[in-house]
Point group: C2
Chain length 219, copies 2
DNA sequence: GTCTATAGCCGGATAGAC
DNA sequence: GTCTATCCGGCTATAGAC
């Protein structure tokens, strides 16, 4: 029994190459070369390049979403029917992802890969990613709306959409260090990064609806 | 003299294909086919695929940045030495980009292309994009910091970084309509979209520094 | 399960006629 | 400036020996 078996070696290598050079930019030959396995092994174990991408994704997303839901349930239980503060909801949603990304090189690579795939890959991938997120969004959405009442639901949806952009940027942008002023973003430990995210996003979520939406619902 | 000359036909076709299928995902053969020109014309007029990408970018970015700077100068002039409200700064920064994106199909395509290229393309592209943005960021950065005083400069930089993520997501995500609940983001006219962006971002920018940064500077 | 070999195709780039 | 023809290499995927 080798230290890591062939499928796992392939997943690790694919994750790294997809993150560093994009999915389209990474050939299966490069993946097998990096993994130290034979070219045909990918097709034997995964079937196709697209299926390989799906497998790379699934391996990491599921635990993050489980952790998100667990934290949310704890909050809901503790709130005893009261609305949960936005900051707590955001923390529950973001902390598991931040934990993955800052838990080591592999998590960071995965985040880069996710962003690249989000913009780059085909419809099939996006469907899969949405499906993975759906269960989580369906639980968080109503709680968020409740905490932000009377903010119109439309605004909650738009701001949730904004949040995904912020999170992709913060967790996945691998160029933080390399750019010069005035783009230099300071290094920070995971707790600070998370706190900054929550602070910024909570303020944005809490903003009163812009005037064009306000006729719809304001107490 | 044809309605549009060959280089322009190539730029238009490349913009569309890069947006729809990514840069790596679009072959030069596909571009020339879509443009109705000969394969060799790309190399004659642009030299290489990478140079073509640069040309597609430059054509649209420059006018947007000029408009941004013009609006900022007007604000600075009218403020007569006073700090400019964040909302006005954000509007000056975002309105020209929003105008491009909502001015027609071509602007929308360009925004998609920009996001894809941001995450996908090589270091060379990102350098070019940063160079284009640098002049603008160097003017807006200090004004933002002044309006947000005493927010630490670090926080301003981080939040500017967040903003780029929000803007990429809002302007470029082409999948707004196609996803089901709870991801459905409502359609909205350009003014509403801009106002929502400004509202959300201004609130985020105005948030007090998170506690870990607060020892640095708070009045 | 792992390998070699190869089918079959498409990629970017260029040479050179017109 | 525009075209054809072609170089040369890389690509995904599969067949079939071991």
């Amino acid at each position: 029994m080798p230290a890591t078996d062939t499928p796992e070696r392939i997943l690790d290598a694919a994750e790294r190459l997809f993150a560093e050079r994009g999915v389209d930019g990474s050939s299966l030959r490069a993946v097998t070369r990096a993994a130290g396995v034979n070219l045909a092994a990918i097709h034997y174990h995964f079937g196709s390049k697209e299926a390989l991408l799906g497998a790379v994704m699934a391996r990491r997303i599921e635990p993050v979403n489980q952790a998100r839901l667990k934290r949310l349930e704890e909050l809901v239980g503790a709130a005893q029917g009261e609305a949960i503060p936005v900051e707590a909801l955001l923390d529950a949603f973001l902390a598991p992802a931040m934990r993955l990304v800052t838990s080591g090189e592999r998590g960071q690579l995965f985040a880069q890969m996710l962003s690249r795939a989000y913009w780059e890959a085909g419809e099939a991938f996006r469907e899969a990613a949405m499906t993975q997120l759906r269960e989580v969004a369906e639980r968080f959405g109503p709680e968020l709306a409740r905490s932000l009442a009377p903010l119109p639901l439309e605004e909650v949806a738009v701001r949730f959409h904004y949040m995904t952009g912020v999170v992709l940027q913060e967790l996945a942008d691998p160029y933080r260090e390399r750019r010069g002023p005035p783009f230099t973003v300071p290094e920070a430990d995971p707790e600070t990064r998370l706190e900054r995210l929550v602070t910024f996003l909570a303020a944005g979520f809490r903003a009163p609806a812009s005037s064009r939406s306000r006729e719809e619902a304001t107490s």
